[in-house]
Symmetry: C2
Subunit: 267 residues, 2 copies
């Protein structure tokens, strides 16, 4: 079993990714896809007169500030636009893709972060109207049901809280939880950089292989959104995934290259 996370950042090319996935699935590989959607959500939010806002937690992680209006736009773009068009592209490559989000059939249950302590202009304050969540459980039986029916699940990064509210979840960490739940051997995280760099953005400092023990240190030098990917990698390994690969989603064979060891291999 392989889990592939397709980043929502600008530059990631869906065509080559879908072509690679088509080839792998035709060879009998079972795949679950998880996608993001930050770049398109930002663009559509701005066009709807609701520009995105990001906050930084006290521990230094950046995330989208998601009040209810933002959540509804995020759901619309990720689960409606990105998910549907990704399923369409995969279908064109012969993959019987099946789009869903963590809300459907309660696939991903998350604890809503009722209050987040953020740093703003150098000062700490609490944010209370946020609809962001941390996934606590993935319904693996539901994914197996789809996979056994010959379908390839394509998952949008939404989850549902115990109170039945939709929440926005981090797609990298969602992919890690999914990979753990379906006992994937490998998790490929495609993004718009070649992998983890010791001194971002200097590509000469790309780390080709990171032992598991190096992850904690990596958290300190990873920049911006890469921090969450490192956290996701750590969570996936903890859940029994053998190998996590951060790889370039902009190349001709993004998934095949990653499986051949290009990028940053963490194991």
């Amino acid at each position: 079993m392989l889990v592939v996370k397709i980043g929502g950042s600008q530059g990631v090319a869906l065509g080559p990714i879908c072509a690679d996935l088509g080839a792998l699935i035709q060879q009998g590989q079972k795949v679950v896809v998880v996608h993001g959607g930050s770049a398109e959500t930002n663009e559509i939010s701005a066009r709807l007169g609701h520009p995105p806002r990001f906050v930084t937690s006290v521990s230094g992680f950046t995330s989208r500030y998601t009040n209810r209006a933002t959540l509804e736009i995020f759901a619309m773009v990720t689960n409606g636009r990105i998910n549907t068009l990704l399923v369409e592209q995969l279908q064109k490559f012969g993959v019987n893709a099946f789009g869903l989000s963590g809300v459907d059939g309660r696939l991903m249950m998350a604890q809503r972060k009722e209050a987040i302590r953020i740093v703003e202009n150098g000062r700490q304050r609490m944010l209370r109207d946020d609809y962001t969540g941390k996934i606590e459980q993935v319904n693996a039986a539901l994914l197996r049901l789809l996979l056994e029916a010959g379908l390839t699940p394509v998952i949008a990064p939404l989850a549902i809280s115990p109170a039945g509210e939709v929440v926005n979840v981090d797609a990298d960490r969602a992919a890690a939880m999914v990979a753990g739940a379906v006992q994937a051997e490998q998790l490929v995280i495609l993004t718009n950089v070649p992998g983890l760099m010791r001194n971002y953005p200097d590509e000469n400092t790309l780390i080709p292989h990171l032992p598991r023990i190096g992850l904690e240190q990596a958290l300190s030098f990873a920049e911006g959104r890469m921090k969450k990917k490192v956290l996701g990698a750590s969570e996936a390994l903890d859940l029994g995934v053998s190998k996590v690969i951060f790889a370039d989603g902009r190349v001709e064979h993004p998934v095949l290259d990653a499986l051949a060891g290009k990028g940053t291999v963490i194991s």
Copy 2:
């Protein structure tokens, strides 16, 4: 088996509909939900600087003119916003709802209408860049798989063409095809009027019961979007559904009232 189509028109209240569905499903009723989304698609299209456009075919049916840009907005709003929020509401009423569109797992296969002959300013012309389709096949096995897993499918009105393109389909006729495929006894079509009226909008001319044989005549006096509902009713009956009910989606118990015979019962 019961199929309920929830109209996308203004005034249709989701809360009472979801409450009714929750009560029915708790009693063991199997339900498939199909929804529309025209009002919200119009609103969001306009906000995105892409106002909706409707065309009238030579046979007098009104439909959304759907070029690729419109299709992507329609997919985003119906499959992302409306579907996700409807699944959320149903989950709050204890229904393990599962949102999908006809693209997922090729649930609904449609022939794309490559060219539509329309009437514009009294003159006929052909429209060739339209992504509207007519459903030809519904994958009933996929719906049964979900229903047997205790899930309630909630279907957005998109389908996939044999070439793998997403197409916009009429939600009333989609509901009719789904009802036929799952061999539903009843199809309830909820809208923002009390039912079929002989002289729309005079509610005193509401038709409480229409025999099957009266459908052809009804096509001639049904106004605007009601025409497609009449066509859908006719298709559902042809596919073996025993009873189609057009009912008011704005009341306190929209589904229970419909099942009790309020609205227009066609059988």
